[in-house]
């Protein structure tokens, strides 16, 4: 597999951790068919760029604010619950939220949600059945990375071009709930296609 140099430059640990390209780049944020890591983690690429500000898609039942609690609340509504670790668990699907401290320096991860006031959410990854992780890096390719620290990055001062910070919150969802939520997302998509055509 040819190396994805633009990703390896952005994430210094990626090459050492190991990764595989799993799709082509989708192009600019607003291009048809483009989506970001949050949409990829939520398995809802139909809605393109998920982001809780006034320009991105966000589930209408969650108040939009770019904070860790807002992300947790949103994925809670998709059936995920916070769990303590990233190891693969039978009958559970997992996602992980990356965030960076406002100082853009590596900092100890707070133990409670209330402690994340100084942190900015940056990225999400979803666990694959074999225990590795899949990420969509901005408008670039989807990759499967074997470890979560592969995408740890704190900007130019710390030798990386990108600033994903580190994994801070792990969430898991029971497989039966996954099936129900996927069916709900499917119905939602059909409703939107029909209403768009009208």
């Amino acid at each position: 597999m040819p190396a994805l140099l633009h990703l390896e430059i952005g994430f210094p640990k990626l090459a050492a951790a190991g990764y595989e390209k799993t799709s082509e780049a989708t192009g600019p944020a607003l291009a048809p068919g483009s989506y970001n890591c949050i949409a990829w983690a939520a398995e809802d690429t139909h809605h393109g760029f998920w982001w809780p500000n006034q320009y991105g898609y966000w589930p209408f039942w969650i108040k939009r604010e770019v904070t860790i609690p807002c992300f947790v609340k949103t994925f809670h509504s998709l059936g995920y619950r916070i769990c303590g670790h990233s190891r693969r668990q039978v009958l559970f699907h997992k996602v992980v939220l990356y965030a960076i401290h406002k100082s853009h320096n590596p900092m100890p991860v707070p133990t409670s949600l209330a402690g994340f006031t100084e942190w900015q959410p940056t990225h999400m990854a979803r666990q694959l059945p074999d225990g590795s992780w899949t990420s969509k890096c901005g408008e670039k390719e989807d990759i499967a990375h074997f470890t979560l620290d592969a995408l740890e990055s704190y900007g130019p001062v710390h030798g990386a071009r990108d600033e994903y910070g580190c994994p801070v919150i792990y969430m898991r969802r029971f497989v039966v709930v996954t099936v129900i939520v996927r069916f709900g997302q499917f119905l939602h998509r059909i409703y939107e296609v029909i209403s768009d055509n009208n």
């Binding site: 990703l7 944020a29 607003l30 291009a31 982001w51 320009y55 940056t122």
Partner: protein, 159 residues
């Protein structure tokens, strides 16, 4: 001008031949160096390397129009945020802020690029024009948001 600053400027403009002849930089007192420099003829003082001038002129020529500046900044911004998923981080990038600082003149180029390349110019357009031509319920529906901006641009005869 403070003496130290004057000496620095001498370093930039003083002809190399004269520097060698007078052993300019090896005199002990900066004040004495400054006095010597003041005694020189104006023609000797203002000697600027012609290659530096032409390089500066070339950069200015490239950046002379808003369109050129926009395209340069947009390419640099795109290259920097390619791996970024956060729409907040994209709009807070220094190059993006520079594009916003170009003001109303850049709006037609933003609209054209939005239509052609689908790059993320919503925050820039909203910040410059202070309007939001799409329905708030369409937030996240990029097709409708782009259509609304293009329609507005056509009505205003910007594109």
């Amino acid at each position: 001008m403070a003496t130290a600053e004057a000496i620095e400027s001498v370093g930039m403009f003083y002809p190399a031949k004269k520097v060698r002849e007078k052993n300019f930089y090896h005199r002990s007192s900066p004040k004495k160096q400054y006095t010597d420099w003041c005694r020189l003829k104006t023609a000797d003082r203002i000697v600027v390397d012609s290659s530096v001038v032409s390089a500066i002129e070339q950069v200015k020529a490239v950046d002379r129009t808003v369109e050129n500046r926009f395209h340069r900044l947009a390419e640099e911004w795109s290259a920097s945020v390619g791996n970024v998923s956060s729409l907040t981080a994209m709009a807070e990038h220094p190059k993006y802020r520079e594009i916003i600082d170009l003001g109303w003149d850049v709006v037609p180029h933003l609209l054209h690029d939005l239509q052609q390349n689908h790059r993320f110019w919503f925050p820039a357009l909203t910040e410059i024009t202070t309007i939001q031509p799409y329905d708030p319920r369409d937030a996240g529906n990029s097709k409708r948001m782009i259509d609304a901006w293009i329609k507005w641009g056509k009505r205003k005869q910007l594109i």
